[in-house]
Symmetry: C2
Subunit: 309 residues, 2 copies
């Protein structure tokens, strides 16, 4: 099948392209970033269009490559912090790009499946316990608001123009090639020889950690899955919460040397205290999460050491 991936040059995008290509799909991508021919082949992309997601570029990709059977829409803002520093930029990346993509599909690919990467950030705080897909969204950051607006746009195009869309609210996705956030920061400092790590927050923040390899297996499975409703929303989380302190502990142990971790107690703006999925709906797809956190982190540490040797 012909699969398109927006934001194919990103962290999740590159993992997804690899998986799809390995499964025999022809994969075409659009988004920002220069990718040379050698690199393109290496990561599994047949065609790559480096540019905005707009009608002209989507038409250009359709001419060069082929019409998509499914589009995985991963492009968009990717940082709560950036969305506070540059809210309009985050809006443009997340909401505007989706508006242009949906409009292009309405005209040019109305029967194409759409799988959209949203975020647990749409839930925000003010919740207790695990988050079902029906919980009221109360974002805590521009990033969360823009992801929510993106979902509503999808809902509108599904309801009024019949675009078949699956929205996946991703929780805390980590894994190899992620060169930012907690694991990356800790590994970088351990590698520099630091043995007393001070981290932001309180350490008690609870997240639903999912390995990117599980995540792209989930996403790819949705492209061909029968879907009754025109729009469906599912949590991309396994339903199990782990604190940042526990993750830090697993990571230092995986690293293999003694290190102590403390927390500044300073909570970052836009950061909900707890984000753990009700994982019931995704399990009934059916889908099984396979990579436990301990193995995922061990693999990450292994990759980091190899990668930065």
């Amino acid at each position: 099948m012909s699969m398109w991936v927006t934001g194919a040059n990103g962290f999740i995008g590159r993992h997804l392209v690899r998986l799809l290509a390995d499964s025999g799909d022809r994969v075409h991508g659009i988004g920002h970033g220069a990718i040379g021919d050698v690199e393109k082949r290496r990561i599994g992309l047949e065609h790559w269009l480096n540019g905005e997601i707009d009608a002209a570029n989507l038409n250009a990709l359709a001419e060069r490559a082929e019409q998509p059977s499914a589009i995985f829409h991963l492009a968009g803002g990717a940082s709560v912090g950036l969305s506070i520093a540059q809210p309009f930029e985050d809006f443009s990346r997340t909401v505007n790009s989706t508006a242009r993509l949906l409009e292009w599909m309405r005209h040019s690919a109305p029967n194409c499946r759409l799988i959209v990467a949203s975020s647990a950030a749409v839930y925000g705080a003010h919740h207790s316990g695990i988050l079902s897909e029906e919980a009221e969204p109360r974002p805590l950051s521009p990033y969360g608001y823009h992801k929510l607006m993106m979902e509503q746009l999808c809902r509108s195009y599904a309801a009024h123009f019949g675009l078949r869309t699956m929205v996946v609210r991703l929780f805390s996705v980590y894994g190899m090639f992620l060169r930012k956030q907690l694991l990356w920061d800790m590994c970088s400092r351990l590698q520099r020889g630091e043995r007393e790590l001070m981290l932001g927050g309180t350490g008690d923040e609870v997240r639903d950690w999912v390995d990117v390899r599980d995540v792209v297996r989930l996403l790819s499975s949705l492209a061909t899955r029968p879907q009754q409703e025109k729009l469906q929303v599912i949590n991309g989380g396994c339903g199990s919460g782990t604190t940042v302190a526990e993750v830090a502990d697993i990571l230092t142990k995986s690293w293999g040397e003694q290190a102590s971790v403390r927390f500044s107690g300073v909570v970052r703006p836009g950061d909900p205290f707890s984000l753990v999925a009700d994982g019931g709906k995704v399990r009934t797809l059916p889908f099984a999460w396979e990579i436990p956190l301990s193995r995922g982190i061990a693999d990450y540490v292994h990759w980091f050491k190899e990668d930065t040797r």
Copy 2:
């Protein structure tokens, strides 16, 4: 005071500009439409910038005119039908223009008050009885979705950047100079001599009709009203429902000749059956609706006959 009105060339915009100018405010507008100097003075605008709502044009207006004390944001899509025919155009007019306005205010006018015209269309159908501001929004059209997204953007900028914003969900605004919709269509046909009018819908659709003169009095009062919360949402409806058949009846009687009205029974897509405000919150501002429907329609008919003589 210096007041800016986006979409000042529209139906509500022109009424609002007149009222503000008559109250001694200096009024500056931005939006689409060529307005000559004579016309500008006639309608009460000191400066008019004919163009998109974007940073460059807002900066240009600020240089020519003066910084705003309050901005009335009336620009945006204005038709459910158009939003179905051209959803991206409606998105751009409503959501994109608001994103650019909010971002400009964040940088250049962070203490300016913002009064935003939203719509009862955000409620959609699936409700029974009157609609309180807390009712769950379930839009029935792209127009309604885009207005909802616009509200969320305002909510995000209020929460994260402190912009003080009042969102007014306008119900069925009618009045002089409105050259479309039910009253205009009926008057046009009566004037052509038709005496057997067939109208769309069932006639049983219930709406909360508010005269534009009351509406702009409400809007203008909000610019200087103390406002505790950074973002507040109020219904711009009087809380009284009247069916389309009743309105048609009042209008034919006002017209002064015998005419019969029938309904096709064909419901237009995106048209909820009932949209009537819970008018409690707006009354406690305080605000009193002054123009009863019978007088508003009589004035409309009078204006129509004068205008088209």
